[in-house]
Symmetry: C2
Subunit: 168 residues, 2 copies
């Protein structure tokens, strides 16, 4: 019922494993193994995110996936939109038929406000914030893949040596 879709959660977990734009691509396979997300399912998910311009995926030798934007510029709302779309924001809490502009239900206004609060939060939380949140084990994974420890309290800056480098 209430929470975001499970797949949006997958997206969060998966993107935490990726490098900033210009960094080294990480294999879908590795991300799948680490996160526990089924490989093939993850592949489709990544593809969806790629179409939305959130990540860049390359096939073949030395392929893999990299963030398309700095993690500080990817919000939870971006992920939710990309995966679950936006339709759910318009539905009445109780799914009442007539509920709308003309005849709002008792909870219409309350629900609109609540939704707005939630969306504001989704908008304000970035992938960088989530990485910083120490999803247990992500640190280890990131270390193994040459990713910086998130600097506490600071936006997780990407090493400048990687920023401008092409994806290879």
């Amino acid at each position: 019922m209430l929470p975001l879709s499970q797949t949006t959660g997958y997206a969060v977990r998966a993107l935490q494993c990726l490098q900033e734009p210009g960094g080294h691509p990480v294999l879908v396979e590795e991300v799948a193994e680490y996160t526990g997300i089924p490989r093939s399912y993850l592949s489709k998910l990544i593809h969806k995110l790629a179409k939305k311009g959130l990540v860049v995926a390359r096939r073949g030798h030395h392929g893999g996936v990299v963030l398309a934007r700095p993690s500080t510029e990817i919000t939870l709302e971006d992920l939710s939109d990309a995966i679950d779309g936006v339709a759910w924001r318009k539905r009445c809490l109780m799914g009442l038929l007539g509920c709308g502009g003309a005849a709002p239900c008792v909870l219409h206004e309350f629900w609109q406000e609540t939704l707005e609060q939630i969306l504001a939060r989704l908008r304000s939380v970035t992938l960088a914030d989530l990485v910083e949140n120490h999803d247990p084990g992500v640190d280890r994974f990131r270390a193994n893949h040459g990713l910086a420890e998130p600097a506490s309290g600071l936006p997780s800056a990407h090493p400048s040596s990687l920023v401008e480098a092409s994806i290879h």
Copy 2:
């Protein structure tokens, strides 16, 4: 994603058609016809609500369904609990695995607070409030079935002549 289940909405619509405890039973058939809820599906729904002690259903001649408690004492939370259960309240917004007491995610606290607000609302809104809200057409239906116009601003009192009368 976010809203309550469609079936909970059904329950709201359906119970708006019923009489206060002691009143005349209304047929599932009639409720189905009026609300547009499929008869057989509604039957199951009503049965579920009956098992939870929210309505009383009787079979056979002059059977039908009546509220088991005054509409002022049936909250949206009661309906939501009866139909969707309570498990969803415990899930992490993003479905993150480790999110819990030890390692809450960035949105854990926010989400807990938001949920609490929502539940407080569900708890404070009663069936009587919803009836008063003039779901368009419910008035007509209720009139046809001898139900009082909800007295604006007052708890919808049930005629004392019906209060103590047995269900027949």
